[in-house]
Point group: C2
Chain length 104, copies 2
């Protein structure tokens, strides 16, 4: 079972879209900000402040980055990156477990 060691884990959840997207923020052992989250099926738009690496742990999503015309599909053990101060559309096809890393 893969785990993050030596983590600082925020107690309170982040709740978005009426709870259809929720996440837990933490700082990993290297001092990097990350979150582990769940997205229920639906279509969402997320803005970024920092650049993000979104790793799909389970589930299936289609993603269209700002300024692009193409939807790309991501499933377990695939990931996509989003630049800072941007946004992306995401269609969650099945309940999706993800890990987001915020890149300074």
């Amino acid at each position: 079972m893969i785990s993050f060691k030596n983590v600082e884990l925020v107690k309170k959840a982040n709740i978005y879209f009426d709870g259809n997207v929720t996440s837990r923020s933490f700082i990993d052992g290297n001092g990097e900000s990350k979150s582990l989250g769940i997205m229920m099926p639906g279509t969402y738009n997320f803005g970024t402040q920092e650049a993000e690496l979104m790793e799909i742990l389970a589930g299936e999503v289609e993603v269209k980055l700002a300024g692009e015309d193409t939807w790309n599909t991501y499933t377990a053990d695939t990931s996509f990156s989003v630049i800072a101060n941007s946004n992306f559309d995401i269609k969650v096809k099945t309940i999706t477990d993800y890990c987001c890393s915020y890149i300074k």
Copy 2:
């Protein structure tokens, strides 16, 4: 912002009831097993193996322990305990953020 320090956090989510209840397992700095979770509105029954302390961080639930006739209401900053090898019925009235501690 309250956080748990020096935690080992499991990467993969626990997903129950078609994703209406999800949680993240971790071991806190004292070596105690806990999980942080989200329950969407609905009615569920949970079994326990170890005894549990369920702390409600946000939301509202009604709980009926096995062998009892009474539903009790819990909201933010309240908690209830469940004995080992038992079960409880829970009606989640609004999306609920919780912390569960497993008692050895």
